[in-house]
């Protein structure tokens, strides 16, 4: 695939929402860890489908149905290439990262985790990569262990090595959605595999922002969401090693995921369809192709570079604000483009509400990572998170507005 120049001002033109006015101001969208904005290429693909070849897939033999089937499967190929998977059959489309992880917990987990087994997660995990394991552990009488963090907000690898001994599953995020911390999942996977431990990597915050490669990381499962990487809502991805997926029982049961159904028994379809029951989110999977293509043309290395330099600038600007404290690694090599912070004792919701009047969108609360907030004794944080279309000028607006917030709430 040919790459194009990484020109932020130019690529902003591809995002219709960024040229709209809110309260007379351009939107500074800094909530990309929650969901990203979408380029017109993606939006257009949805319209093109519904206006030109909307049909159900995989079963019919008329023209538009065949086109829809081909485009749907094309996204699978592209996704497979994007994450450096061995083959397209190992790409399963779900609704979101959460469903991808639950699919593993309810199928692989239910048939492989037994009483006394150890499941290891980290303190960085999003609820979606905690709760399924918490509940599975309770159901099975298994143990759940949390890998600690070091002072600098990175994974404590000594603690990891201790806890991984004899573990059955490591479920770990590649990038924290609160602290921005990047996790050395390749190194950890190789250590876990020496213990005979299966590894699931939550790529929700990594796949959109940096190059990832399944054959390089070597993990057994990898989960992420289209909506956080320029694609539509309603599409998630689960990658799995082929032997493991083959051995797994299916999740949802019904149309499309079966091969034959008789009154008293049924045979499952082949990979990947075994895991895709009922009518898929056809339009959005088809449109997701254009999100992947968009990112690939920019080049994931350059996406990472852009975010790195923006994050560096933002950390500098934010640290100039009185009473502001940000969390996560100081070392820019160890963090993604996510900055969580507090501002004196101003409640994060109040910060976000006031920023909203300035058309600056940030998030506030626990960011679905309550255990981490409890560990750090934080009531909640405000969070700014960046993507390809964000600029230093937007960071400046953020810093100015935060200074205003400080004034409004000065006692």
């Amino acid at each position: 695939m040919e790459t194009v120049a990484f020109n932020v001002e130019e690529l902003r033109n591809d995002f219709p929402i960024l040229s709209k006015k809110f309260n007379g101001k351009t939107l500074a969208y800094l909530d990309n860890a929650a969901t990203s904005q979408k380029p017109r290429q993606v939006i257009k693909a949805i319209c093109d489908f519904y206006e030109g070849y909307n049909a159900n897939i995989h079963r019919g033999v008329y023209e538009i149905e065949e086109k829809a089937t081909m485009k749907y499967e094309r996204t699978r190929e592209a996704t497979s290439r994007f994450i450096g998977a061995e083959s397209a059959e190992q790409i399963i489309f779900t609704r979101n990262t959460t469903e991808s992880i639950n699919l593993v917990a309810k199928t692989w987990g239910a048939s492989n985790i037994r009483k006394g087994d150890k499941i290891v997660v980290s303190l960085l995990e999003h609820h979606s990569n905690v709760v399924p394991w918490q509940v599975l552990a309770k159901e099975k009488g298994a143990l759940l262990e949390y890998i600690n963090l070091k002072e600098d907000s990175t994974i404590d690898l000594d603690d990891f090595k201790e806890k991984i001994a004899g573990a059955k599953l490591l479920a770990i995020t590649q990038a924290s959605n609160v602290l921005g911390t990047l996790v050395p999942v390749k190194q950890m996977t190789s250590i876990a595999h020496q213990e005979g431990c299966t590894v699931l990597v939550d790529g929700a915050q990594s796949a959109p922002h940096m190059p990832v490669s399944m054959t390089d990381i070597g993990c057994d499962f990898f989960a992420f969401s289209s909506h956080k990487m320029l694609g539509p809502t309603g599409v998630g991805v689960l990658y799995g090693k082929r032997e493991i997926l083959d051995a797994m029982p299916p999740y949802n049961l019904g149309g499309d995921m079966i091969s034959e159904v008789h009154k008293w028994d049924v045979t499952w379809n082949e990979l990947p369809w075994k895991f895709e029951a009922g009518t898929s989110n056809i339009a959005d999977v088809i449109a997701y192709y254009h999100a992947i293509e968009y990112l690939q043309r920019l080049g994931m290395e350059r996406v990472r570079e852009h975010e790195k330099s923006l994050t560096k600038y933002a950390l500098k600007r934010l640290s100039e604000i009185k009473g502001l404290r940000y969390y996560g690694p100081d070392d820019i090599e160890m963090r993604g483009g996510i900055i969580s912070f507090t501002l004196g004792d101003v409640h994060p919701h109040d910060i976000a509400s006031i920023l909203s009047r300035e058309a600056i969108a940030i998030r506030s609360g626990y960011h679905c990572a309550q255990p981490l907030h409890e560990e750090l004794s934080l009531g909640g944080t405000a969070r700014a998170s960046f993507y390809i279309y964000n600029t230093e000028e937007e960071v400046d607006r953020l810093a100015e507005a935060l200074n205003e917030v400080r004034k409004v709430f000065a006692k």
């Binding site: 919701h349 109040d350 626990y366 709430f409 006692k411």
Partner: protein, 131 residues
């Protein structure tokens, strides 16, 4: 800076909350947390001759939730139990200056209202079952 949410009255009550204390020997207490934001309020109420004679609250959280609690204590002071029962959400919002709260932040404002109402109902039902 436009701040239709953060009206002067809200900021005033947030910075200097009224009745910010716990009563000794209240007739009823009521507390609740909004798990989304961690907002917390706890009310203690004394009654005399069927009227609120004294009311206090403690809590922590965002400006909206804490200002709402403070304003609510002013609002219920001296009210009869019947008047308390009849009190509507809108009464509190009006006392707050009808700030332009969205669907998410309105929950912050309503935490106090719901907590106090629930406390009242459980007080009344426990009383009626005792007599």
């Amino acid at each position: 800076m436009s701040d239709e949410i953060y009206k002067e009255i809200i900021l005033d009550h947030y910075k200097n909350p009224h009745n910010f204390h716990k009563l000794k020997d209240p007739d009823f207490k009521a507390e609740d947390t909004n798990p989304l934001c961690g907002d917390h309020v706890e009310f203690s109420v004394k009654l005399q001759d069927g009227r609120v004679s004294e009311v206090g609250f403690i809590g922590r959280g965002c400006a909206i939730s804490q200002a709402a609690a403070s304003i609510l204590t002013d609002l219920v002071q001296g009210k009869t139990i019947e008047e308390l029962q009849k009190m509507e959400k809108e009464d509190l919002l009006e006392a707050m200056g009808n700030p332009d709260l969205g669907p998410v932040r309105i929950k912050c404002a309503m935490l106090s209202f719901k907590t106090l109402k629930l406390g009242l109902y459980s007080y009344l039902s426990s009383k009626s079952s005792h007599t």
